[in-house]
Each structure stands twice: as structure tokens, then as C-alpha cells.
């Protein structure tokens, strides 16, 4: 099994695990963490692709750039979600999402 496949499959597994986390965990913080981790799974795959695409020892810079951009975007969204979650907690005392519908 090549290195590419090992990392690629690891990324796939991480992504699936994170989805499980998002669905089953009700604590908002855990949901946010799972989402953030999901991003990491994608970044792992991208880095793996960059590594696979290397020519003469130079890795493919486009996936690298995508990861760097993606990290900033994911960090921004995560931070904003955390800020919202804290505000929500301060307002209601809840750590899970509640509303009229009772859905999560």
C-alpha cells in the first residue's frame, strides 16, 4: 500500500468519524470541534495530494495554497461559531441547541 493511499484513507476515516461526532454530540463545543477536525481531514487529503503530485522533489504548491487558505477560512468560521456559542450560553445557560421545534 502506497503512502498516498494510507494518508488518503486516513483522511477519509477522519472525515467519517467527524461526521459521526457532529451527529451524535449535542454539546455545541463538540460539534464545533468536530467540524473543525473535519476541515483537518480535508487538509490532510490535500497535503497528501500535494505530496503525490511532486516533481523533482517539489510538492504541488496549489494544494498547499488551498490548505493555507482553507485553514484561515476554517479558523474564521470556527472562531465566529465559538463566539456565537459563548453568547448563546451566556444568554440561556444551554450548551445544546434548543429552539421551539426541539430539533437539533
Amino acid at each position: 500500500m502506497s503512502e498516498f493511499l494510507i494518508y488518503g484513507l486516513a483522511a477519509a476515516a477522519l472525515f467519517a468519524i467527524c461526521l459521526h461526532g457532529i451527529i451524535t454530540r449535542t454539546h455545541i463545543l463538540r460539534k464545533i470541534l468536530a467540524l473543525n477536525m473535519m476541515g483537518s481531514a480535508v487538509f490532510l487529503l490535500l497535503i497528501t495530494i500535494a505530496e503525490r503530485n511532486q516533481v523533482d522533489g517539489v510538492a504541488d504548491p496549489v494544494p498547499h495554497a488551498m490548505v493555507l487558505t482553507g485553514i484561515v477560512v476554517a479558523v474564521s468560521a470556527t472562531a465566529f461559531a465559538l463566539a456565537l456559542a459563548r453568547r448563546y450560553h451566556a444568554q440561556t445557560g444551554h450548551t445544546e441547541l434548543h429552539d421551539e421545534d426541539g430539533s437539533t
Binding site: 455545541i28 480535508v42 490535500l46 503530485n53 477560512v73 468560521a77 465566529f80 448563546y88 429552539d99
Partner: protein, 531 residues
């Protein structure tokens, strides 16, 4: 003229940043200038595409696949035009709406507009230390509205013009964050929960989309939509990528059962924001899905998947409409109506998909029909949410069962609501009729009778909730104890103008439909076949 595509992105960004930098009350002047200019530029872009065909621009002078290209075809121009017109209407409305929110010496604090969480409203001011408010500068919801709204508008244009799947991911995130920031503008508890849930759902959708992008890049080695379309990818990886991207976008476009976040988010925001979310933001994800589906994954689609998506659309129509009928608050009703209308849009997928003869003209008909429906929904839904905003600010509530008799006080508002409702029902003469007509034709022509039934029944269900509101309002007995607050005329005018647009676009659909043909995916397919 050929650079108008850049300016249509730059101008709202520049004005948004300027409004942000200036802050305070003057931000609305800049916001208005931005809205006016962006509207004009959107019109110019439509004109440019109309006259000179598809517009392509290599950013930074780097050719694809190295750089990123912008591309405006008929579809992009169509949606940018819609965004321009709806955006201008919303902006003019918002000037007055947020003015009433601004605390001023002459203003009665109780006259402040309410967003209608319907319960437990938190006092906006006074729960944070004065020092934090920046001395002379006061926190104004309007001051934050304008820059955020300009950025939202810009991000829609970014989305409609981008021709690079990774850049589209950044555009989607920009759109999401701007939307969430706008939802929580008045930071009522309901809005915070709704915004948080929306953000999480959209985040999940983005991640699925991004994983799809990674897989596509791994498979094809390019990110440009045009190159991907030419590559005619069919492998398993592409199919999985397509599935991931589709699910991610369906989550953002709120197709049943992934709509759970929408009603609360769209109904708890301030009225101009609700209007923008339902009329425009949902279309962003829808647009991208349509682009990918019919251009990149064209050869990877299968009838069963298409029928399944159409089926979800059908369920969305039925469930969304019934939920709308059940709602007691007007804004929630309108939000559920969006769930149902989004279902309509996705009926396009099986109709324009690979069912039957791949060279048949009905595919193109369904495609244009679905997009025309999106257009009509844009105008009609914006008008409806703005109308609800007027009622909410005048009456202090938006409970449907307490609107009795209000038609004689707000005749224009209800007239507009009725016109917009006609468009949603697909009754002639309205833009909704044109969309429905084309989709129905396509369904009959291709022999997919089940969609005919859904499209027709959906119209009647829509009539159900529209009629509930109107018959309440037309009642003779007035159910009102207090005198309604006066509402600025401009707000009412904008409600009417948007509704009137949804009507006028149904009277003269020939040109917009022709615009859609420019660079349409089916045409390229046809020209390839001819060669």
C-alpha cells in the same frame, strides 16, 4: 465596458469597507451609493453579456489552470441582474427601516422596529459597559448593517462570476459569514440560536464541498470549471466528489430534509436581511449546484439520483407548504414557504437531467424554467419579507391570526403580498407562471407525469397559505387595540416595487429567457454534437 465584471465585485466591496471605516450614521449614505452603483453595474454587465456574449477574464493575467478566471455567461448575468434589482429594492427599504432603529433625541424608543422574536426580547442597550462603546461613537445596528450587506452583495457577485471550484468555496464561506453576521445584527436570543445553527449547517456543507474539490483536483489536476467541463470526468472519484459537493450545496440551499436550519434563521433576522437571505443567498448555493451539475458532472449523473433529488424537492413542496399553512407567525410562514419554493427549484434536476432522450429540447426548457422560477421567487419573496417587516414594525407583531382587518390600513402592502403570492403560485400573469409553464411543458413533453402532478398541486398549496393571510387581512372586523405606528412611505413603495417586478417579468419573458441561452450548458452540448 468589458471590465464591468470586475467593478461589479469591487464597488460593493469598496463601499462596504468605506461604510465600515466611516461607521456611525454616515455609513448608510455610503451604503446607498454602493447599492445604486452596484445596481447600475449589474445592469451594465447584463447589457454587456447580452451584446457581446460570454465574458471571460483571467485574473492577474495568469492563464488557467495556473490562475483563476472569471466568467459571465447568460446565467451569471441573469442572476447578477436579479441580485442587482432585488438588492437595490432591499437597500432603499433598509434606509428607512434602520433609521427607525437608530436611537435619536426626537425618537420615541418604543417606536424602534422589532424583529419579532415574539418572546423574551432582550434589551439591546445597557448591558455592556459604556466605555466599550467607544466614547462618542454609539453602537448602531444600521452602521453594521450597511457594510455587512455590501459584503454579502459582493460575495454573491463573486459567486456568480467565479469560474474556479476552490475560489467558489471561499466565496461560499464569505457569503455564509456575512449572512450569519447579519442574522444576529440585533442579537435577540432567537436570532443567535438560529444564526449558530445556520453557521454550523453551512460549515458542514462547506466541508463536504471542499472534500469534493480536493477529490476533483486529485483526479483531474485542475480547478477551472471550463477545463473540468471539457475533461468530461466519469470516474468513481468524480462521482463521489460530485455527490459530496451536491450534498454540501443542498445543505446550504436548504433542500428537504436539510432545511432544518432555514425557517428560524430566515424568520428571526431583521426584515431586510430576511429578504436578502431568502431571495438571494439561497440562490447562491442553488446556482453553484446547477452549474456543477449540468457542466462538470453532466456525464456522471444518473437517472435514479436525479429522480431522487426531484423527489426530495417534491417532499419539500408538500411539507414546506403544509408547515407554512400551520404557522402562526407571518415571518415563519414566509420562511417555510421558501422551503417549499426551494423544492420547486430542484424539480428542475430530473426534468433537465438524463431522463429519456439526451438531445431533447425539454431539458433546456426545464433548465430555463427552473431558473426563471428562481428569478420570480427572488422578487416575490423579497417583497413578502419586506411586507412582513412593515406589518411587524407598524403593528408590533406578526401573528397571522391577529392581522384581521389590517388590509384597509395597509392596502398597498397586502396588494403586494397578493401579487407576490400569485407569482409563487405560478398564476399568470407573473414571472412564476413563466417558470412553471416551462417546467410543466418539459414534464409533459418528457412524459414525467409525476412531476406534473407535484407542480400543479404545489401551486394550490401555495394558494392555501397566501389565502390565509389575505382573508385574515380582508376581514371586516378590525383586530387592533392600538393605533399602528406610522411606517415610512419608502418602505411600502419598495415592497410594491419588488412585487410589481415579479409581475412585469411575467409579461415580457422573451428577453430574459434569451439572455439565459447565452453560453448555456445545453447549447455547448448541442454545438459539440453538430461539429
Amino acid at each position: 465596458m468589458s471590465l464591468v465584471g470586475i467593478w461589479v465585485i469591487l464597488i460593493p466591496l469598496i463601499c462596504g469597507l468605506a461604510a465600515f471605516a466611516v461607521g456611525g450614521r454616515s455609513s448608510r449614505v455610503i451604503g446607498l451609493i454602493g447599492a445604486g452603483l452596484t445596481f447600475l453595474l449589474s445592469g451594465l454587465l447584463v447589457l454587456h453579456v447580452w451584446q457581446s456574449g460570454v465574458w471571460i477574464y483571467q485574473l492577474g493575467g495568469w492563464d488557467v489552470p495556473l490562475g483563476i478566471s472569471l466568467r459571465a455567461d447568460g446565467l451569471s448575468a441573469f442572476l447578477i441582474g436579479m441580485t442587482g434589482a432585488v438588492g437595490l429594492g432591499i437597500s432603499l427599504y433598509a434606509v428607512r427601516y434602520f433609521e427607525a432603529l437608530t436611537p435619536g433625541p426626537s425618537q420615541d424608543p418604543s417606536a424602534a422596529l422589532r424583529t419579532g422574536s415574539g418572546r423574551g426580547e432582550e434589551s439591546g442597550a445597557g448591558d455592556s459597559p459604556e466605555a466599550e462603546r467607544g466614547g462618542t461613537e454609539v453602537w448602531l445596528p444600521g452602521a453594521s448593517y450597511w457594510p455587512l450587506w455590501m459584503l454579502l452583495w459582493a460575495s454573491l457577485n463573486v459567486l456568480f462570476l467565479s469560474n474556479d471550484i476552490f475560489n467558489l468555496y471561499v466565496g461560499l464561506e464569505l457569503l455564509t459569514l456575512a449572512s450569519v453576521a447579519l442574522i444576529i445584527l440585533q442579537r435577540e436570543q432567537a436570532a443567535i440560536v438560529a444564526g449558530l445553527r445556520y453557521l454550523l449547517a453551512a460549515f458542514l456543507g462547506s466541508m463536504a464541498y471542499l472534500l469534493g474539490v480536493a477529490l476533483i483536483y486529485a483526479d483531474a489536476g485542475v480547478l477551472d470549471l471550463g477545463l473540468l467541463a471539457d475533461a468530461e470526468l466519469t470516474g468513481t472519484a468524480t462521482q463521489v466528489a460530485g455527490g459530496l459537493m451536491a450534498v454540501g450545496l443542498l445543505l446550504k440551499a436548504a433542500l428537504f430534509p436539510l432545511h432544518f436550519w432555514l425557517p428560524a434563521a430566515h424568520s428571526s433576522a431583521p426584515a431586510p436581511v430576511s429578504a436578502a437571505l431568502s431571495a438571494l443567498v439561497v440562490k447562491g448555493a442553488f446556482y453553484l449546484l446547477i452549474r456543477l451539475w449540468f457542466e462538470v458532472f453532466e456525464s456522471a449523473g444518473t437517472v435514479s439520483v436525479e429522480q431522487m433529488i426531484g423527489g426530495l424537492g417534491a417532499v419539500a413542496i408538500v411539507v414546506g407548504s403544509f408547515q407554512a399553512i400551520r404557522q402562526e407567525r407571518l415571518k415563519l410562514m414566509i420562511a417555510y414557504s421558501t422551503v417549499a419554493q426551494v423544492g420547486y427549484l430542484f424539480i428542475m434536476i430530473p426534468l433537465a437531467g438524463s431522463f429519456g432522450d439526451p438531445e431533447a429540447s425539454w431539458r433546456f426548457e426545464a433548465w430555463t424554467g427552473g431558473l426563471y422560477h428562481a428569478l420570480s421567487h427572488g422578487f416575490a419573496k423579497a417583497s413578502m419579507f419586506l411586507a412582513a417587516g412593515v406589518l411587524l414594525s407598524a403593528l408590533g407583531h406578526d401573528r397571522v391570526w391577529h392581522l384581521a382587518g389590517s388590509a384597509s390600513r395597509f392596502p398597498v402592502i397586502y396588494l403586494s403580498f397578493g401579487i407576490a403570492g400569485m407569482s409563487l403560485m405560478g398564476l399568470p400573469p407573473s414571472a412564476g407562471f413563466v417558470g412553471k409553464w416551462l417546467m410543466l411543458r418539459s414534464a409533459v413533453e418528457s412524459g414525467q407525469w409525476w412531476w406534473v402532478v407535484i407542480l400543479l398541486v404545489g401551486g394550490l398549496l401555495t394558494a392555501g397559505y397566501v389565502a390565509i393571510v389575505l382573508s385574515q387581512a380582508l376581514q371586516h372586523d378590525v383586530d387592533e387595540h392600538t393605533e399602528p405606528h406610522p411606517v415610512p412611505k419608502l418602505m411600502t413603495v419598495m415592497v410594491f416595487a419588488l412585487a410589481a417586478m415579479s409581475l412585469l417579468l411575467g409579461l415580457r419573458a422573451a428577453e430574459p429567457l434569451e439572455l439565459l441561452e447565452i453560453g448555456a450548458p445545453f447549447q455547448t452540448l448541442m454545438s459539440v454534437v453538430e461539429d
